[in-house]
């Protein structure tokens, strides 16, 4: 028998990941911001010029200059160092909130979508109630009840975010369930759990990835909002929202206290939104072909 030789594809000139991003300046910009933030968070102890908590009252409210590129705050702390260290907290918030929301939302959404009937009905009415509250109001409410702090802030934001995932997963699971390959798997005698995890769940990964990416930014934005009105992360923690909040009292004559931490939040969130936007186009086959 003659061996069929498959001709290799044209050799890859550029790595896969970069090829994906080609002609996508906005996505590249987003990835660059995220990479920058990751590097900044990882190397914070090495690159921050001062100790973010070190107060130097003689140096308070100094405008940006060569010694303090972003200036100093009302206690004489270096704002650049605090912004750099703040990226660690932002990643912590984003990752923990998204992970918690996924942990609650995916199982609930899967059971509602797969089981249907009264399970679905009951779970969806519960998400209705949660979604009836504007997110920030409910988060403030929970936060006020359980008390301020980083952990509580992450917990309240997760409580507010999981219904989105439950809805998303339920909707997709319901439509995937109608496919013939699911029927085939059932006919082949596969158990419920196996069908759910082997056949339904993998098909849910794209919408979940897109939503999680967008929520990384969203969680940080909400957390910053909570800190801003005094319910989230408490001083002296170098969290960006709390820093903007502290700068508010000095806005008339020390704009840098507000401007730089706020810019850091903006760029962090923008990075994840740019990436999420592109992922959405890329992972959504209906949009991919449209040019």
């Amino acid at each position: 028998m003659k061996q069929v030789k498959f001709r290799a594809r044209a050799p890859l000139k550029t790595p896969f990941a970069i090829r994906l991003l080609k002609n996508r300046p906005l996505a590249i910009f987003g990835v660059a911001i995220i990479v920058f933030n990751i590097l900044q968070a990882l190397s914070a102890p090495a690159i921050s010029p001062y100790d973010p908590y070190n107060m130097q009252l003689s140096d308070k409210l100094r405008a940006p200059d060569a010694a303090h590129i972003f200036g100093t705050d009302q206690l004489g702390r270096d704002i650049l160092s605090r912004v750099i260290w703040g990226s660690r907290i932002s990643f912590e918030i984003g990752v923990v909130v998204v992970a918690l929301s996924l942990l609650i939302g995916i199982p609930l959404g899967l059971s509602a979508g797969y089981a249907g009937g009264w399970v679905d009905e009951a779970l969806m009415r519960i998400t209705d109630i949660f979604l009836a509250f504007p997110a920030l109001v409910l988060a403030i409410f929970i936060e006020a009840a359980i008390g301020p702090g980083l952990t509580n802030a992450m917990f309240s934001i997760a409580i507010v975010s999981w219904p989105t995932y439950a809805r998303l997963v339920r909707g997709s699971a319901m439509s995937i369930k109608q496919n013939e390959f699911i029927e085939a798997a059932r006919a082949a005698g596969e158990g419920k759990l196996r069908v759910i995890f082997r056949h339904i769940f993998p098909n849910l990964l794209s919408p979940i990835t897109v939503q999680s990416t967008l929520d990384m930014g969203g969680a940080v934005l909400t957390a910053a909002g909570l800190s801003f009105i005094g319910f989230g992360v408490q001083p002296p923690t170098a969290e960006w929202g709390a820093m903007v909040s502290a700068g508010r009292d000095y806005i008339a004559f020390a704009w840098w206290m507000t401007a730089f931490p706020g810019l850091a939040i903006f760029l962090f969130v923008l990075g994840f939104n740019l990436l999420g936007d592109w992922l959405n186009d890329y992972l959504n086959p209906r949009l991919r072909g449209v040019e």
């Binding site: 209705d128 920030l136 910053a224």
Partner: protein, 330 residues
């Protein structure tokens, strides 16, 4: 339609129950918050009895739900007035702000989204998309503070509140300063309240502008790729007619949804915007109430916001059926 409206009842009951649960099952003690750490036990007990906090939980719940059906939201702890009276006073300010924000975002978002779609992947599109993505990424409070810094502190423009402190507000009819000034023909008050409204409304509406323009863009692109648009082109219709007569009309269906749903998130965003601009609405009222552990006020405001949100959803559903005859309300 009646059935849709009836579905609201369980949601509203659920919302009220959830707020009740959160307020009652928390470690925070409103009595200590009200009296301070060093109150005498007798004072505490008297207050507990007055607020009904010494009754069993189920009884508190029944009294609370019964009160709601009577429009009784309880007495606010920090203002010492019925919550419903407070809300009547502060809600119009929030409505005025959110409505102005919504109008601004429709006026900006709609043309931006259309332009973006027609000039897809051109410079206009990129600029519009960056503007839109910035809108959903920017912290509202930061944008507000920066604008305050520039407009109020540097340029001497309007800053805090709903109207110039030197100008007395218009006679209250609806509570909306702009509407009341027009009704009472008080042009000085109209000018001042409009000027004070623009900046907070823009800050609050920026995120919504972004959401609307993205939705318009996506929806237009989808419609423009449909067969009937190709047919229209083949018929030799002008691009103008195709876009405004045929594409935009169909593209508006999902956009309506987004606009309706935005109203709820505007109310939510108002919490931060009102704090920054000292805007005396329910957003500021609820933050003050939360700091004071004023449960009746927090519960009442949350329920009000949630109900407005749910009603906005209902209006969207109805508008949907009207715009798209294929959808029939069950």
């Amino acid at each position: 339609m009646l059935r849709r409206a009836a579905l609201l009842i369980p949601v509203i009951i659920g919302i009220s129950t959830l707020t009740f649960i959160i307020t009652r099952l928390v470690p925070a003690n409103p009595i200590i918050a009200f009296l301070g750490e060093f109150a005498r036990p007798a004072q505490e007990a008297a207050l507990e009895a007055k607020w009904g906090l010494n009754r069993p939980l189920y009884e508190q719940y029944i009294r609370y739900m019964y009160g709601l059906t009577q429009g009784d939201l309880g007495i606010s702890i920090h203002t010492q007035r019925p919550v419903i009276v407070d809300l009547e006073e502060f809600f119009p300010a929030t409505v005025e702000l959110s409505t102005a924000a919504l109008l601004i975002s429709i006026c900006l978002g709609l043309p931006m989204g259309i332009l973006s779609a027609i000039r897809r992947n051109k410079l206009t599109d990129h600029v519009a998309r960056i503007f839109a993505l910035s809108g959903v990424s920017i912290p509202v409070f930061w944008l507000g503070l920066l604008l305050l810094f520039v407009v109020y502190y540097k340029l001497g423009g309007p800053g805090f509140g709903r109207i110039d402190p030197g100008i007395s507000p218009p006679t209250r009819i609806t509570g909306l300063y702009v509407v009341d000034s027009i009704l009472t023909q008080n042009w000085q008050a109209l000018g001042s309240s409009l000027i004070h409204l623009i900046m907070p409304a823009f800050v609050l509406g920026y995120a919504t502008t972004a959401v609307i323009s993205r939705m318009v863009r996506a929806s237009m692109l989808e419609v423009l790729s449909q067969d009937y648009i190709r047919s229209a082109r083949a018929h030799g219709l002008s691009e103008r007619v195709i876009i405004y007569r045929h594409a935009l009309r169909n593209a508006m269906i999902p956009v309506t949804t987004v606009i309706g749903l935005s109203y709820g998130s505007l109310l939510s965003g108002a919490v931060l915007t009102e704090t920054i601009f000292a805007w005396p609405g329910i957003g500021r009222y609820i933050t003050d109430a939360i700091s004071a552990l004023d449960f009746p006020a927090v519960t009442g405001t949350s329920i009000l916001i949630a109900i407005v949100y749910v009603l906005a959803n209902l209006v969207v559903d109805i508008a949907y059926a009207y715009l798209d005859p294929r959808i029939r309300l069950g």
